[in-house]
Symmetry: D2
Subunit: 407 residues, 4 copies
Amino acid sequence: MDFAYTARTEQLRAALQSFMDEAVLPRDRDWNRIAAGGTYPLDVVEPLKAEARRRGLWNLFLPALRPDEPGTRLSNLEYAPLAEIMGRVPWASEVFNCNAPDTGNMEILHLFATPEQRARWLDPLLDGRIRSGVSITEPEVASSDPTNLETTIRRDGDDLVIDGRKWFTTGALHPNFAFTLVFGLSDPRPDADPHRRHSFVIVPAGTPGFRVVRNVPILGHHSPEGHCEVAFESVRVPAANLLGEEGAGFAIAQARLGPGRIHHCMRTIGQCELALELMCERALSRRTFGRDLASYANIQDWIAESRIEIEQARLLNLKAAWLMDTSGNKAARTEIAAIKVAAARLQTRIADRAIQVFGARGLTDDTPLAYLYTWGRALRFVDGPDEVHLRTIARAELKRRRGPVAA
Amino acid sequence: MDFAYTARTEQLRAALQSFMDEAVLPRDRDWNRIAAGGTYPLDVVEPLKAEARRRGLWNLFLPALRPDEPGTRLSNLEYAPLAEIMGRVPWASEVFNCNAPDTGNMEILHLFATPEQRARWLDPLLDGRIRSGVSITEPEVASSDPTNLETTIRRDGDDLVIDGRKWFTTGALHPNFAFTLVFGLSDPRPDADPHRRHSFVIVPAGTPGFRVVRNVPILGHHSPEGHCEVAFESVRVPAANLLGEEGAGFAIAQARLGPGRIHHCMRTIGQCELALELMCERALSRRTFGRDLASYANIQDWIAESRIEIEQARLLNLKAAWLMDTSGNKAARTEIAAIKVAAARLQTRIADRAIQVFGARGLTDDTPLAYLYTWGRALRFVDGPDEVHLRTIARAELKRRRGPVAA
Amino acid sequence: MDFAYTARTEQLRAALQSFMDEAVLPRDRDWNRIAAGGTYPLDVVEPLKAEARRRGLWNLFLPALRPDEPGTRLSNLEYAPLAEIMGRVPWASEVFNCNAPDTGNMEILHLFATPEQRARWLDPLLDGRIRSGVSITEPEVASSDPTNLETTIRRDGDDLVIDGRKWFTTGALHPNFAFTLVFGLSDPRPDADPHRRHSFVIVPAGTPGFRVVRNVPILGHHSPEGHCEVAFESVRVPAANLLGEEGAGFAIAQARLGPGRIHHCMRTIGQCELALELMCERALSRRTFGRDLASYANIQDWIAESRIEIEQARLLNLKAAWLMDTSGNKAARTEIAAIKVAAARLQTRIADRAIQVFGARGLTDDTPLAYLYTWGRALRFVDGPDEVHLRTIARAELKRRRGPVAA
Amino acid sequence: MDFAYTARTEQLRAALQSFMDEAVLPRDRDWNRIAAGGTYPLDVVEPLKAEARRRGLWNLFLPALRPDEPGTRLSNLEYAPLAEIMGRVPWASEVFNCNAPDTGNMEILHLFATPEQRARWLDPLLDGRIRSGVSITEPEVASSDPTNLETTIRRDGDDLVIDGRKWFTTGALHPNFAFTLVFGLSDPRPDADPHRRHSFVIVPAGTPGFRVVRNVPILGHHSPEGHCEVAFESVRVPAANLLGEEGAGFAIAQARLGPGRIHHCMRTIGQCELALELMCERALSRRTFGRDLASYANIQDWIAESRIEIEQARLLNLKAAWLMDTSGNKAARTEIAAIKVAAARLQTRIADRAIQVFGARGLTDDTPLAYLYTWGRALRFVDGPDEVHLRTIARAELKRRRGPVAA
């Protein structure tokens, strides 16, 4: 057992931090100004992407790159502290081609794509030339139970025809948006194995019948790349766009969510550190009733409890990453679920404390705290609500003691 | 001791509820559509105001109307359940001339205005012909300690000259905005009594040097009437615009915050009831893993805990109102502080639970929950942060046991 | 609506408080010393009982005394603030013949006893000449679901034969212990109405086969009157000892638990006030790092939050009492369940804070806090665990919105 | 970074677990029976100690044994998972000579004792032939600020004379109790450096004037070895009994509390695992309303949240141990304080949940839960209250951002 980062990790952390400080942070104001004007800030992002790739800070997230795939070969454990650094600036991950949902999409294309699919969709993704979406959750059903999902994928000759409504398709408004991976019901027989009835299919942007309904606001925030509600109305794609086998939807979704789930958590750690730093700085710079805020015992408690909680969450994150590296995603299932719950709750809690130290300014967009607070709340749904993950953990715990558990 | 509403209160509740159902709620969609388009929905509000006044649902909040002032004479205790009903629609209070900050402004003008000030500012407010703001908190200092406030009010001949920067001046973008009450330092001598150094002055809209800097977003939400940052640059008004005596700022602010503080709390109760209703309806209409959400014990716990907490908060609210009516605002100081803390925390907590039951839709603007959640968070600062009120309560509690408490 | 105690209540509060101060508190040390020595402190209690009765402070809990029953005729609402005062000394209720479980037993005997049962069991209880127990919960089954209870009551000629094991039979070690009310399965047919299968039967102390197995410790505390595990081994009593009809067990249990449930809650309010007073006194008398504990903002927060929570719980308690008085126990079902949950949780929380202010002394028996903390934890089971009451509240809430709720 | 235990650790864990299962657990009932009878169960413990030492499971806690000291040479990181296993049985640590406060005493004697002190006090401790106490905290002052401590150590010729009152001297009732280490004020000059005014002195059992006042109950529990209040009335010992230099009290206390603080935390992890196991077993074996407790979503949430919290606390514990091993106790100060706070709070929280799943049986002594709950509460004071540690963490955090922090 060893809690030190390896020399290589330390080196990458330093390189990434330098790049963030020198190149990314100085463009943050511009990025936000352009985005606020309704344009996606490609002019800010593209040069940074080129430079990041030049510096070897590219596709850091993908543990098992093939020789022909560009990027740095890192384990999940090595990636975690880097994602933490990226997480401090909401738009920074894209600079390193490490942004959701492309990361998860690259993971599953890497695993399941045919050579033709690779050439058309994966390679440009790995190069950062296109963006992609993933369309799983639906507005009309409780999507935390994926067997509820109703969008249909119907075979019609050599084509697949997709009908349904999805939402939270992140990236659908990005100027480079090229396709989305749609999860749908391909086997309508009610008596079929419920985990073999769904499939994934690639739907290119611009396919007739596929359209963005709206950019769904998340606690008042409209992401410039879009968390979109999208409609599929008799959308027709060639059967070659099927990803993996027919009925493999659940298996692919599982593969997709493994590392992807903890990427958000890693970034959360960085965002929590940022909130704690801001909290301390504010506490040191403001006075009430003749004393620094930093001298009040309740504010000291909030600072200390935040530190205690961040330390614990970071360790759990790293442990989950290490377990995925050494024993596989499946063996790490409880740890992944655990950090998923812990990290999302933590972000809201720490941002909440920091806001309270800031006073009303904490509610404004003068600081990142309003974003951290509301996005932290959203994280409690991203990749599944807390309750689904708690249920997973509890059932595993109970199973260790006696056979399977009912409902 | 009696926990029943009086017959008169029940009658007013019924009348108000009918009016809300028949007249207000049917215009909610329009109000929001117009506001989203960047226009204040006066066309929706003004006819409703006329009708509300016709029905005797006017200025319900002002306990001690004078014979020449229009409105229904209600105690705080009678008003509370009505504010609860109004609170369910964020813009409804204005229909009844019961919206902040005009309510608080009417209260203090009613108490402190000269006959000329009454005629020019209070009478049109009581008639709902104009809107007003109040400018106390400042971006550059920790305003929870009001002795920190730095905006200056300097006498220059027969004029007062105001310099400074304020924010969260609600209403400054309303089309009927006519003036704001500015709290500033009128006695710069550092050795003067710290609670006699500040005054209130009336600054009319359009006075040279007084301008709106920006509409400050609150957790991403831009209010159509504005929670504005405003600048006062050598703003010159006649000395007759001074409200009350010079140095009476603290005394007036105290008077202002009494009933005003619990109006928000009363509305919060209504908003919490709304969130609980939505939570129940969603739990009854969604299924996961073969069962209604409503049948899950964790969701049942959230529902029950919400009910328990709402009941307690409502009672504390009513008790505070009753105490103000029977013993005066000062005697109710602990109860007012207590409900202020309890209600704001409650709204965020219950909205949070409801969002979790809704799943990701709870984050969108398809339901009122996102607003309730973020506005609930803001309420923890409106009329002072939790910590200031907790300190007030603790010091009173400790004082009951032994003399005054240090720091 | 009126939040003032009536003149009569104020008068009784003053009389009770005087008696507590003059007569009860001075004997507290003796009571505890004698109890610690293994003897029940009857010598302390009996003279106080006589004096309390003389002063008209007797059977204050029973709202509907009959003309031939001794005691003061008080509503639940009038009784609540008195129970609060009694609650401050754990053994004081007995002095006023207001102690559990005799209160609940008197309530149901008052409602359901035959004239013979009245004469033999109720009249001496009303006079405070005997003590009684109630035997419902069982060690071997999850008793929060009473349909699980397995103790049998079998008719055999003119006798009833009881077999089973019960626990938490409070009072079974009291020197005046005369009988217990046993809840058992009288209709073994599995297809019978599950709420008509159980009955209550009176089992006199000394009946062959009825014995105390042990005095069950509660978080290390052995009550001198006993929270006993008791065995019924072929215990034979005359059929005339049946209380009410055969199969009326559930109905009687419901009647029993109405006011009884909130008596504990009323006393809890008094115990919480005591803990808060102690917390304040300690905070005022101790210094660390050069400052009074009372000046630390975290401790001030604990004090203030305790005050906020106590106020709310007291009001909910009074509201539930008022609702029982004006609309009946059934109409108050949600409020009773709500205060049951809120009060028990509150006691542990406030005692916990007070202990933390006291430092390690708070763990010792030098203060009442250790008792308040552990007894508060026990209250979360007394009259049913939190989860049963939360479920009751949630189901009522959901039912208001749509028909009955599954599981 | 590596989260796997080393092969050596795994081997020791297996050996220890076997010994616990084969030798310790079978004697648990006897230990408790004998202790309940008022005798210290030496007859149970001594043979087990001999066997543990034979198996190389001895003095596992002491990272830096000298060649002449008996025991296994383990790092803190290696010891942690072993302490976790020992922690599951409250009295087991003594079997391995790893019990508080002897462990801490051995640590500082190992560092500071003269050869004569080693021979007389340390060697028999290392051999498990005697027991010792440590007397720091005092009943009359807020001991969380050690500068408050008032017991005096006065030089009188070649003697030291000790006067004062201490409590929570654990072990003073153990049959092998041989001495206690007393922390007292040796430099009464008020203007002396406040961290150089105190010293440690060895006071042998039986020294005239040194007596046990009482065995202080901790939430109702009387430890058989005693958490004693002890009096020092003109206690005279030779000056050679001074430990380290005069005035070195603070420095020694710091050294003492380093590893010692996390030993309790390590054991806590084992106790929390035990509580979680019991919770799961109970949930699987009880039914209410037609379903296993284990199938209720609220109980599943408690199980899952317990797992999440235990995992995080264990990792923080191990990280703190690793940091002490690799960088020294001082470098690990924040981590030690953090796990101290987190572990103690965790134990009460998880035991509380487990009690709730057990129902009222959880309050009795039929399970270890009542002990885990009350002892967990006590742990929030052992080695200093939460607030002192939170303050330490906050000040370190604030210092990283700007110079030293006031108050």
